[in-house]
């Protein structure tokens, strides 16, 4: 077997292991899904009327659903990815990890299993959240190609953040620390253009909001799904995804391969 076929085969096996774990811990899976949906409902029904008027027209709640949905999609990703960091940290406390290290398998497969599992999990959650968004009035005008592109952006973002989360799960030695370390990720959509446009923010915050990775991703999604101008957001978004994915992968791999007894 070549190294590649071995890696694919073992990663598939580890993915199955991950899916089993998720189905055993379905209450966690549901919780991770409930958070963005509750946020969506909160922002649309409690705050949406006022926030929608502030967007510039007098679109009210209807305009705000459209505006906030890409933000909620990012909240879905960052929230699920925080779950990934926690589950990796938890997994590393299991004795079976030592067993994997004494087996002739593709070493990275333990990590790719987590990555693939979390990407699948996140994509399913994204679909569910989008469904709810449509139910409460989200009206995208995207063509099939634009939908495909949006799906691509969401997948790339998920993939990148999942690798980062895996590294965060590995660098910590317990669940609480993994949860804390990945917490800032979940705040990124809030400190960006996720819930309100950045030009309403004070200067410092505004600078941060416009230069952090999640904002161009959300702007790209808005452009694809709703037809707002994209500008250079797409390129910046994809560049961020590539950088985060590569850095996360390299970091995770290094952490996994270190001698954990030293």
């Amino acid at each position: 077997m070549t190294a590649i076929t071995l890696a694919v085969r073992d990663s598939t096996t580890m993915l199955r292991r991950q899916l089993r774990h998720m189905s055993r811990a379905w209450s966690v899976t549901l919780m991770l899904l409930a958070v963005p949906i509750v946020l969506l409902l909160l922002f649309v029904y409690v705050l949406g009327g006022t926030l929608g008027d502030g967007l510039g027209g007098s679109g009210g709640r209807g305009a705000y659903v459209d505006y906030v949905t890409p933000g909620i999609l990012l909240v879905t990703i960052t929230g699920t990815v925080q779950g990934t960091a926690i589950s990796v940290a938890l997994d590393m406390t299991q004795g079976i990890i030592a067993r994997f290290r004494t087996m002739a398998i593709a070493r990275v497969s333990v990590l790719t299993g987590h990555v693939l599992g979390s990407v699948l999990h996140t994509l399913l959650s994204l679909a569910a959240v989008l469904g709810v968004a449509v139910l409460v009035g989200f009206r995208p005008d995207a063509t099939a190609v634009e939908w495909l592109a949006a799906a691509g952006v969401l997948t790339a973002t998920t993939f990148a953040l999942v690798w980062l989360a895996v590294a965060m799960g590995l660098v910590t030695t317990n669940v609480a620390a993994a949860s804390n370390l990945s917490m800032p990720l979940t705040l990124l959509p809030l400190f960006g253009s996720g819930f309100v446009p950045t030009d309403s923010m004070p200067t410092v915050l505004r600078w941060f909001a416009e230069h952090q990775p999640v904002t161009p991703i959300m702007e790209t999604l808005r452009g694809l799904l709703l037809g707002t101008p994209i500008g250079d957001s797409a390129v910046i978004a994809l560049a961020w995804c590539a950088v985060i994915a590569l850095a996360g992968y390299a970091w995770a791999k290094r952490l996994y391969n270190r001698d954990r007894t030293r």
Binding site: T13, G95, I96, R99, T102, M103, R262
Partner: protein, 321 residues
């Protein structure tokens, strides 16, 4: 043992490992011929787990050469991994999967086909008596079941060398005997077994050769019989209620009493016949015995015999059966 025609299953020379300035293994040499049971015997902290971790490619040696099944663990770790099965000191099962799922996971990672994986799983469930555990998640197992599942997982790849790190520590006597039987069966099938233990009895029961590890050094090596020859035999310990009875018994049996603890230690193997003769003699002298214990040589005795000092830990003695 240096000019063996075929390469031994395990060949270790000059193995050293340290943590910071603490030297944990200080120049270990080991040769384990194929198809034999080798036991590394030593108290807590001697370095047994560290040896197993290095031999099973889990951690690196700091110096020395280690070859398993003809492959260098540092240069060809995957070759070694393909040839070994490991049951570590701490359980290595997936707590969220059932026994059967754990085994099927191992089958997949050993790249067995689907049908072959199912067949091997059923066979191992049967062979290691895992029927009850097959459908339960790992987190719910008793100590003995966990150990057997752990071992079964290590066997999935049909290893030529099996490492067992303190496989019976913490098990009840029955589970211990079950495990011993399994280990013997494996050895009978031609597998090489490298086993660590704190129990002299276990090494004696199972091993073809025993090496004694003390603070990172091998202090003795040989067959169980050779090692036991170094150790003074067992004795019968008699306890008395008062000094008068002790003195009378000491006179009747002609041994020096331990006045501080009110006990007499009479050399002997504790066989029924000699025990009866002993009690008869005390009866004849009308001495009342308060209590009796059979003492078999344990790890402490071996260490005392070999190093002239007790091991760091105080192991419990084997009392009346």
């Amino acid at each position: 043992m240096t000019n063996l025609p075929i390469e031994p299953a395990i060949a270790v020379t000059g193995l050293r490992r340290w943590y910071g300035r603490h030297v944990v293994l200080d120049g270990i040499d080991l040769h384990v011929p194929e198809g034999t049971i080798f036991s590394l015997l030593g108290p807590n902290g001697a370095g047994k787990t560290t040896v197993v971790q290095i031999l099973s490619t889990l951690i690196r040696a700091d110096a020395g050469q280690v070859r398993v099944c003809g492959h260098d663990v540092a240069r060809a770790p995957d070759r070694v991994r393909a040839a070994i099965g490991v049951t570590g000191q701490f359980s290595a099962v997936d707590d969220y999967l059932t026994g059967e799922e754990n085994l099927l996971l191992m089958a997949d990672l050993n790249h067995l086909g689907k049908a072959e994986g199912r067949r091997r799983t059923a066979e191992l469930v049967e062979r290691l008596g895992l029927g009850d555990a097959a459908k339960k998640p790992g987190a719910l197992y008793s100590g003995g079941t966990r150990r057997r599942l752990d071992l079964a997982m290590g066997l999935m790849g049909d290893p030529r060398v099996i490492f067992l790190d303190e496989p019976t520590t913490g098990l009840d006597p029955r589970s211990r005997r079950d495990l011993w039987r399994i280990v013997r069966d494996l050895a009978a099938g031609g597998v090489t077994i490298f086993l660590t233990t704190q129990y002299l009895e276990e090494a004696d029961q199972l091993a073809d050769r025993i090496a004694l590890l003390d603070r990172g050094r091998l202090v003795a090596e040989g067959t169980p019989a050779e090692l036991k020859r170094l150790v003074p035999g067992g004795h019968v310990e008699l306890r008395f209620a008062d000094d008068r009875a002790l003195t009378a018994a000491a006179a009747a049996l002609d041994v020096v009493p331990d006045r501080a603890e009110l006990v007499l230690r009479v050399p002997g193997d504790g066989g029924v016949r000699s025990l009866k003769a002993l009690l008869d003699r005390l009866d004849a002298a009308s001495v009342e015995v308060d209590g009796l214990a059979l003492r078999t040589p344990d790890l402490d005795d071996v260490f005392f015999a070999v190093t002239g000092q007790a091991s760091d830990q105080t192991s419990g003695e084997v009392t009346a059966r």
